[in-house]
Symmetry: C2
């Protein structure tokens, strides 16, 4: 067996009690997969890790979408891979694909699990970042649920992250005043200088968030694109305008809590302001993915959309990259480069 | 001075600390109003009392809409009145009007505060019940925010009240399965036998509301039209479906609480279910009032909409009628008949 055909997998070793740790994961040497009829052999190139995966790691019944990870089974996430062995004309050797794939260096799958990536359109890693689920979540959450209008004020939390960084820019492209919330001065710098947002708030250095938001948003908040939740939501909601839209994209503040979080009931204010709080998942809009990708690609090509991928090298570093998401240190989309495309 | 020209007013005597009581109100003998140029003299016929008025009785800054009641000033509410003295051709003596009028037997107003009532269309009292704000709130909240689709399951709380009783029937007219929540067996009877709802839950006799809702709604809840809030919301929300819509119309459970209520944060479930919680006030839809009244009038005339007005006689009984709203005993729209139309 040649060296490049050594295979490994990363499995869920145990359910995390709160934050995921190294012992949440197990790494195993495994055989090269047997490729059955109708399948192709794939090699992982770029593995994406997302905070939302934390919810699939808990004990409990599977959800309707079959998302829960099982003990001693490989974890799955959005991944860019390359076909390295194929008898099938539509997915020939060398083809680049993406999908929700197991954390294995090599794996085999039927082709209905694969979506093609056009390497001429954009760098292939973007299939799991700006042109993939994070970019689409930002696009649909902002435009279809937030519906920002020209000159409105939009606040984005987790604004330096994979989704937030695109969401803020999409709102800027609609002619809005955009305020980003993030957790380091480096990130605030990134928001203002790289993404072109109007204002940034470092919540870790801010004692009174409600006051800081009122100062940054003198006309009130029309759209809040929230990746964080918890008390940060309360602070922004306190400055929300009539007919405002709270777009709930993520709740990273709560993912690692053992008890269901409690907070002020928003209903009374929702009536007073004729406002809404709405959650979504990107697959609600799957009929419109092609339209969205076309628009995102156009903005990318016109340099109207800036994106940053935070690449870590090496398959065995996937767990620490995932754990790092909850330390709040990454700027842009966190990805692991497993192998080079051939 | 003739006996019928004795005049009285009811004022806010003090801010209620929690529930309104008799000492919240003061009743005064007052002079007959002087009718200035451009004004007409009006006599109250039907005064409406609504739970939502409780929010205007608290101490604090006025809201943008100028809704707050002032100490020793007359309280105002939706009222049907008759013009008893007028020099103006468009509002002659005898004309029936409605609007937000002071709690006074006689009062004078400029005509821009008056909306005409057509006595041939429906009984004039309906201008502040099914054809007025409560009916319009039910119509717009259900159809524009809840958007119930045929065969979906709709739950209405406060289902025997002024708004809820119309909201439930509007959902039935869309071909939905409708479950009403109310607080007495008499009301449950009314929901099922007079309003034609599919199921009723007496929350006062139900130990486990969440279980009761799951049993009454085996296919889950698609739309919740909530007039109550608090833990009742949590119980219904626990059975909410993907893409469900929580319409927040009222929060009678919370109006009399001194501290802002807390509860489970809904955001995580909103994401999982791609669901929304949305508040509204009826005046959001004022451009469409005429369309809605036409439809409500049509349903009334076709006997497709049943309504009940709970009439108490006598101007001096307005405060106790208002206080009674929070005892949860009224079925249908609570109104006070002050005088007979001439």
């Amino acid at each position: 067996m040649k060296k490049e055909e050594e295979n490994k997998e990363i499995v869920l070793a145990q359910h995390p009690s709160r934050k995921p740790t190294k012992s949440t994961f197990g790494i195993n040497d495994i055989d090269m997969p047997k490729v059955k009829e109708g399948e192709v052999l794939l090699k992982s190139l770029y593995v994406s890790v997302d905070p939302g995966m934390r919810g699939f790691m808990d004990k409990g019944d599977d959800d309707a979408a079959g998302n829960k990870f099982e003990i001693n089974k490989p974890i799955t996430s959005r991944t860019v891979a390359q076909v390295v062995k194929s008898d099938l004309d539509n997915f020939p050797k060398g083809a680049i694909v993406h999908g929700r794939f197991p954390w294995q260096i090599y794996f085999s799958l039927k082709t209905d699990a694969l979506e093609k990536v056009d390497p001429d359109l954009a760098p292939i890693s973007t299939a799991v970042s700006v042109m993939g689920v994070p970019g689409l979540a930002a696009y649909f959450g902002m435009l279809k649920i937030g519906k920002p209008q020209k000159d409105e004020t939009v606040v984005v939390s987790g604004a330096a992250g994979a989704v937030g960084s695109i969401a803020g820019q999409v709102a800027k492209l609609q002619g809005c005043t955009v305020v980003g919330i993030a957790g380091s001065d480096e990130k605030i710098d990134y928001l203002k200088n790289d993404l072109g947002l109007d204002e940034g708030i470092n919540y870790k250095k801010t004692e009174n968030m409600q006051k800081a938001i009122k100062e940054a948003c003198p006309n009130g908040v029309d759209v809040f694109f929230d990746n964080v939740g918890g008390e940060l939501f309360d602070a922004v909601f306190a400055d929300a305008n009539r007919h405002s839209r709270m777009v709930i994209c993520g709740q990273i503040a709560d993912y690692n809590k053992s008890n269901p979080p409690v907070g002020p009931r928003p209903q009374h204010d929702l009536i007073k302001m004729s406002a809404k709080i709405e959650g979504f998942v990107v697959f609600d809009f799957k009929e419109e993915f092609d339209t969205a990708k076309k628009q995102l690609g156009e903005w990318l090509n016109n340099n109207q959309l800036y994106y940053k991928e935070n690449l870590i090298e090496g398959f065995e570093n996937i767990p620490s990259a995932f754990i790092g998401l909850f330390e709040g240190e990454n700027i842009g989309k966190q990805m692991i480069k497993v192998s080079e495309a051939e």
